[in-house]
Every structure is written in structure tokens, then in C-alpha cells.
């Protein structure tokens, strides 16, 4: 994979340095069938240092995950080597099935197949069921 030129895929740019790996993990890009380049600590005039993720495959990417990890990141969609779309990233009001509630007394620990859902509040994300703050 030539990391400079993607034919069809997605480039997640302007990721705060250090958050790239977390994003790869939460986006579940750590898999065998997709070429993914993680470029860490790239020099950036605006940000000092940044991370970049290049995905060389036309796969769906959960923008809520990006908005949760780093709402300032940018997402560029590449088709046939050309930038065709820039997606706007926002912090999602509701985050479903991305992070897990750590409260041992929460109903999510015992209820079968219950999705972990977090709601954005003034002080960050809180579990929809027990109001425990996300770590």
C-alpha cells in the first residue's frame, strides 16, 4: 500500500497526536482484510503534531466514534484517487455500542444483549441507564 495515494477509501486527518491508536481500536480497523496506515506524530503547522489514519478500502466508518474520540478530526472520502467528500464531524449526542459502562451495579452488566448507550451531558458522556460518567 502506498500510503500517500489511496484509490478508494478514507483519510482521517487532524487527529490530536496520541489519539490515533484509540481511534483505530474503537473503529475496529485492526483486522486482516483491510489496508490501514496509522501515521503518528506528523508535523502540522496548525496543531504542532497530529495523527493520520488512511484506510485503503471502501468500508463504512462510524463517524460517531470519530466525533467521540476527537471532534476536531477531519474525514476525507477518496474515490478513484480524487477527494470527493469532506465529512463534518460532531460530538454525537447519543453514542451507541462504542464504549462500555464500567459501573458494576449497572443493568448493562446483567441484561442480555443490552446495547451500551451513552448520552452527551454538560460534563461529558454518561450511561443512559445508570448515569455513570464514561472514563
Amino acid at each position: 500500500m502506498n500510503i500517500d495515494s489511496i484509490r478508494n477509501g478514507i483519510v482521517i486527518d487532524h487527529i490530536s497526536a496520541g489519539k490515533g491508536m484509540k481511534l483505530v481500536s474503537l473503529l475496529e480497523l485492526d483486522r486482516d482484510d483491510v489496508s490501514v496506515a496509522i501515521i503518528k506524530n506528523v508535523h502540522s503547522q496548525k496543531m504542532g503534531k497530529k495523527d493520520i489514519i488512511k484506510i485503503d478500502a471502501d468500508i463504512p466508518v462510524n463517524l460517531d466514534v470519530i466525533g467521540y474520540v476527537d471532534p476536531d478530526a477531519t474525514v476525507n472520502v477518496i474515490k478513484d484517487g480524487v477527494l470527493v467528500e469532506k465529512k463534518t464531524i460532531e460530538r454525537p449526542k447519543i453514542l451507541t455500542g462504542v464504549i462500555r459502562c464500567k459501573n458494576p451495579r449497572c443493568i448493562t452488566t446483567t441484561e442480555q444483549e443490552l446495547k451500551h448507550v451513552f448520552c452527551l451531558r454538560d460534563d461529558g458522556y454518561r450511561c443512559m441507564y445508570c448515569e455513570t460518567k464514561a472514563e
Binding site: E111, C130, T132
Partner: protein, 307 residues
């Protein structure tokens, strides 16, 4: 389908309406004796709480309705096996309304999201217990005749005490509420309650460790018990449980108009001698809880088109 998970699911106007209904029930109970004829309430208690269950059952019977329950032996097996979602989907076919208690936080929301009938949260772990707060509000209203400009002292376990957090939230909606937070250092009101409930409402509050010195300015003293199950360490529990004990002697220093409330059960934080004091209102709270449960059952059944 309208359910009540948290007392703040009800607007101030709806609480006024419930209080009005409860007052009307108290004035003329016969008028309500057949309102829920042939309607059924299911009490689904995944953990035992005899007094709350009995209050719901008494409420439904006084409205002329019927009650069916999971026996407690079954409820413990249900807690291990069948999910909350499956249980309420099943029970929705048998009854008109559900009152549910469960040891896990957020269980009532799961129930409400899966039931085709209204669900009343009868306590979900340390999270919410809205009908207790409704009982507290009717008691305050009956004793004080208004909700504005009241100074409430909360005493005891303010960290884990869900009834305290819930009543703080409910009273913060009335103008001029002031809180005096009386607790040991280890059991102070959590900062998220201050930040999310007290601060946005602009509530004036003071924090202290001293009960006696705080009493002279209070309209209401709300006592709570320190719960053993909240402590990892027995020593900490033993050290903190006897920190505040309201005695007849201490009540001599309290204003004539100060009422004493407690969500019950108590352990030893209020001496039995205080029970005879006309300012002691905790057994009135129990009775008021039944009236508010009656009012709430009627309201939700009406909204669901079942009355």
C-alpha cells in the same frame, strides 16, 4: 407509553396535579374506591422490599383494582435467568400497569423501553425511587402548605442516599429553596449532584458536619440512614453509622415549626422517643406514599387509555 423512572420525568405542574388528586383521595376516599375496577397491577420485585411492595398493593386495592406479584423466590431466579426485557414483555400481556423494583441501576428504563404498558420505578439500585420522593413532596406540602422558600437540612449519608439526591432535584425546581447539607466528610453530597442539580438552579447551600448547630434555621430536617451494603469495610460502617442520632434532647433545640422526615426504615438515627413529638412526620410519609402511588397509578392508566 408513559412511564415514570425518575421523579424529574414529572413536571412541576404534574406534581401539583398529583398532590391535588392525593388531597382529594384523603378528603373522600369512597369516591376512588372503584376507579380501577377490574384493572390489574403487577408488582415485579427482583429484590425484596416489603414495605414498598405493600404500599403499591394497598394503593391498587384502595382504587378497587387487583394485584398480581412474582413471589420473591421466583424473583431471585428471574434475577439470575430471565432478562428484565423478557419479563416485562410477558407481564405486559397480563396486567394494565407494572411497579418494578430491581437491584441494578437503570433496570426500570430497560423495563419501560420493553413494556407495552406503563412502568413505575419502585427503586432501581442506588439510582432512582420516584414514588418515595412523591411521598416526601406530599408530606412537605401537607405540613408546610407550600414549596417555596423552604430551608431543608439533609443529614446522614448524602453520598449514596438516592432519596436525598432525588428530593434535592425535585425541591431545586421551587423558588427560594435552601439546602443545609449535614454529613461526615466521607459521605458528602457528590460533586456531580452539586454541579448538575444545585448549581444550575442557583440553589444556596451550606455544608457542615454539625447537626445540632444547623437545626435552628431549618423548616425541614430530612434524616437518612447509613447503609451497611454501601461500605466495603465494616469498620468504616461502624464508625459512621452512629455519627448522627436525633434524640428528644436535640429536638428541644429545633424550631417549633421544623418537621422531621425520614424515608424509613430507620436503624438508630432517630430515637424512638422522637416519634411522639408532633414534629415527627416519618410515619405520615408512609401513608402519604400510598396516596401518591394511588394518584400516580390513576394518572398513568388514564394517559395509557386504560381508564
Amino acid at each position: 407509553m408513559r412511564s415514570v423512572i425518575d421523579v424529574l420525568d414529572l413536571s412541576v405542574e404534574e406534581i401539583d396535579e398529583l398532590i391535588e388528586t392525593a388531597e382529594d383521595i384523603i378528603a373522600d376516599p369512597d369516591k376512588y374506591a372503584h376507579v380501577c375496577d377490574r384493572k390489574k397491577l403487577a408488582t415485579l420485585f427482583f429484590e425484596p422490599s416489603t414495605r414498598t411492595r405493600m404500599s403499591f398493593e394497598a394503593a391498587m386495592y384502595e382504587l378497587g383494582g387487583h394485584v398480581i406479584s412474582m413471589s420473591e423466590a421466583n424473583s431471585s431466579s428471574a434475577a439470575k435467568g430471565e432478562s428484565v426485557a423478557d419479563t416485562v414483555k410477558t407481564v405486559s400481556n397480563y396486567v394494565d400497569i407494572i411497579a418494578m423494583r430491581h437491584p441494578k441501576e437503570g433496570a426500570a428504563l430497560v423495563a419501560a423501553n420493553n413494556a407495552s404498558i406503563p412502568v413505575i420505578n419502585a427503586g432501581d439500585g442506588g439510582h432512582c425511587h420516584p414514588t418515595q420522593t412523591l411521598a416526601d413532596l406530599l408530606t412537605i406540602h401537607r405540613e408546610k402548605k407550600h414549596f417555596d422558600n423552604l430551608t431543608i437540612g439533609f443529614c446522614g449519608d448524602l453520598k449514596f442516599g438516592r432519596t436525598v439526591h432525588s428530593l434535592c432535584g425535585a425541591m431545586a425546581r421551587y423558588p427560594g429553596s435552601k439546602f443545609v447539607l449535614i454529613s461526615p466528610e466521607e459521605l458528602k453530597l457528590p460533586s456531580y449532584v452539586k454541579r448538575n442539580v444545585l448549581d444550575p438552579a442557583g440553589i444556596q447551600y451550606t455544608q457542615t458536619t454539625d447537626l445540632e448547630d444547623s437545626m435552628e434555621n431549618l423548616d425541614i430536617l430530612y434524616m437518612t440512614r447509613v447503609q451497611r451494603e454501601r461500605f466495603f469495610n465494616e469498620e468504616d460502617y461502624l464508625r459512621l453509622k452512629d455519627r448522627y442520632i436525633l434524640t428528644a434532647e436535640k429536638m428541644k433545640k429545633a424550631p417549633e415549626s421544623m418537621i422531621v422526615m425520614h424515608p424509613l426504615p430507620r436503624v438508630n438515627e432517630i430515637s424512638v422517643a422522637v416519634d411522639d413529638d408532633p414534629r415527627a412526620c416519618y410515619f405520615k410519609q408512609v401513608l402519604n406514599g400510598k396516596y401518591m402511588r394511588m394518584a400516580l397509578i390513576m394518572k398513568l392508566l388514564k394517559e395509557a387509555g386504560r381508564l
